[in-house]
Amino acid sequence: MQNVIAYIEHKHGVVRRVSLEAVTQGRTLADKLGGKVHAVVAGAGASDAAETLKKYPVDQIHVSGDERFIDGAVDALETVAKSAGNALVLVGNTMIGRDVGSRFAARVDCGINADVVDFTTDGSVAAVMPKLGGLVITTCAYVGDFGVAAIRPNVFAAKETSGAGEIVHLASNATASPVTVEDEVEEAAAELGVEEASVVVSGGRGMGGPEPFTTILKDLADAFGGAVGASRAAVDAGWIPHGHQVGQTGKTISPTLYLAVGISGAIQHKVGMRTSETIVAINKDANAPIAEFADLLVVGDAFAIVPALTNLVRDAKAAHA
């Protein structure tokens, strides 16, 4: 494989950051492998998304107006991949990215690697992934002309360049979609999820109820421009929806800063966040398991520390602004 195809996830033309990370990393890989970088963007707003992509290091931006849910994107990817002859397809390791990447892999019978955090290019490209809850780092090569890598958000950099990609319009021969989208409801304001936020402020059993998740933790996350996460205990207690859960039965994330508030750090939680760049914990128990792997554990009352911290962070951010 020499070429790279980045699948561009977008909402009404607004491109998700992980897709920009995919094109930027795609350039690095294609340069090492001696191939081209293609971006594939489909659905309503695809042309707007293509404009954003012109600021990134892509050779060709393939635009498809096919609006069918998932199927439209998979068909477009298949067309571009077959015409390129060989390609590593990069998708974000997100709900949509996984759906598109997995269906493409099954359709063209290729290997797929999930939650990729690095690549090696020793002759051919291989994907590097933490496995077994982060206990080991595995490297997987691809057999054949195609492969899919679902990249973990927030791990690769997204960098604008002066290069302007050529826009190619894909002809759509779409048949009726078997899946009908009847309705879409936004229950919360659009915000970065825990998988994509570079700062995650998580609460656990020590929060005692749902309220801190929408008040003191939310305020601190907002001060950082980050997201609110939670431990399984907090989710199982019904304090916050499952989408926020970090851990083995939730999401595995690698933010640059992870703040664990009132979270003991049981193994189930640890495997979901131990690859964070920096971990800061606030806990009333100095012997909580999280002390073994947090870069800083502050022993004290979270309900007093967090609001004070929020004020200091706001001040520090304002001083830089």
Partner: protein, 287 residues
């Protein structure tokens, strides 16, 4: 659609003369993976780079229990003779763990056990599992969203594609009506309602339900339920799967860098705790 080959069951409690139009019992199939216990603190044997399984129990993948519970609830709601079949690709030695799914209320199970399937990558798993599923002619296939050991979340989409079924993933609510399945699909900040005709594949999220514990009656009853054992040769595969057929080949395993113990400081009060953290964040250039 597979249901056409099955008899129309008696309608329980229907009035004489009442004709229920086009009632066909559904065959619901649930895929189940067996995984090392989620709560065990796992270790790697440095000489083999494999998981040390001593003292680590094998359990039903917790994510698959939500799919199984959803299937059982649909069956109970339909109450028309619809059945729930569990399918698992796992060594034959794990038969008694598969039986737990039967104790929860599934009607029967199919196990695909074969040494030649060992080492299958996601693609190989999708090929073998979809072949076994197809042979069952299901109307609805329910899966978990991911497994707690591999955590790829890619198998539902791959199975849907290989089966040629519409794939409705991340469902937190599932309804069946007029030969269609309608789900609330979770999104990052809400949900979307999507529907498709049967047969279809649906992956079920944790928010969908609270999986039941097997009752004593269920455990006793499960002993009599059938667990059909299939080998790779029974699947009619035309391509090699297992280690040799893998499209993603493991070329290296290394221990992950160990995260050391950091600083522990005791805060005198809220302001002091905040000060300690801010100083630390400034050292690390976060502020």
């Amino acid at each position: 659609m597979g249901a056409e080959s099955r008899p129309v069951p008696d309608e329980p409690g229907s009035e004489p003369g009442f004709v229920r139009p086009e009632v066909l019992a559904l065959k619901i199939l649930v895929t189940v993976k067996l995984v090392p216990d989620t709560n065990a603190d796992k270790r790697i044997d440095p000489s083999t780079m494999r998981l040390v399984r001593t003292g680590v129990e094998t359990v039903l993948n917790p994510f698959d229990e939500y799919a199984l519970e959803a299937a059982l609830q649909l069956k109970e709601k339909l109450n028309d003779g619809s059945t729930v079949t569990v399918v698992s690709m796992t060594p034959a030695a794990n038969k008694e763990i598969v039986r737990k799914a039967l104790a929860m209320g599934a009607d029967d199970a199919v196990m695909i056990s074969d040494d030649t399937l060992a080492g299958s990558d996601l693609w190989g798993t999708a090929v073998a599992l979809s072949a076994a599923i197809k042979a069952q002619s299901p109307d609805l296939v329910l899966t978990g969203t991911q497994s707690t050991d591999a955590i790829s979340g890619d198998l539902p989409g791959m199975l849907a594609e290989k089966l040629g079924f519409p794939g409705l993933t991340y469902a937190r609510k599932i309804d069946l009506a007029d030969g269609r399945v309608r789900v609330e699909r979770e999104t990052e900040n809400g949900y979307m309602t999507i529907s498709a005709p049967l047969p279809a594949l649906v992956s079920v999220t944790k928010s969908a339900n609270e999986p039941r514990y097997p009752s004593l009656k269920g455990i006793m009853g499960a002993k009599k339920k059938e667990i059909k054992q299939l080998a790779a040769a029974d699947l009619g595969l035309t391509v090699a799967v297992g280690t040799d057929g893998a499209k993603a080949k493991l070329i290296n395993v290394a221990p992950a860098p160990v995260r050391g113990k950091g600083r522990v400081e005791t805060a005198a009060d809220g302001a002091d705790g905040a000060r300690i953290i801010v100083e630390f964040l400034k050292e690390r250039k976060f502020l």
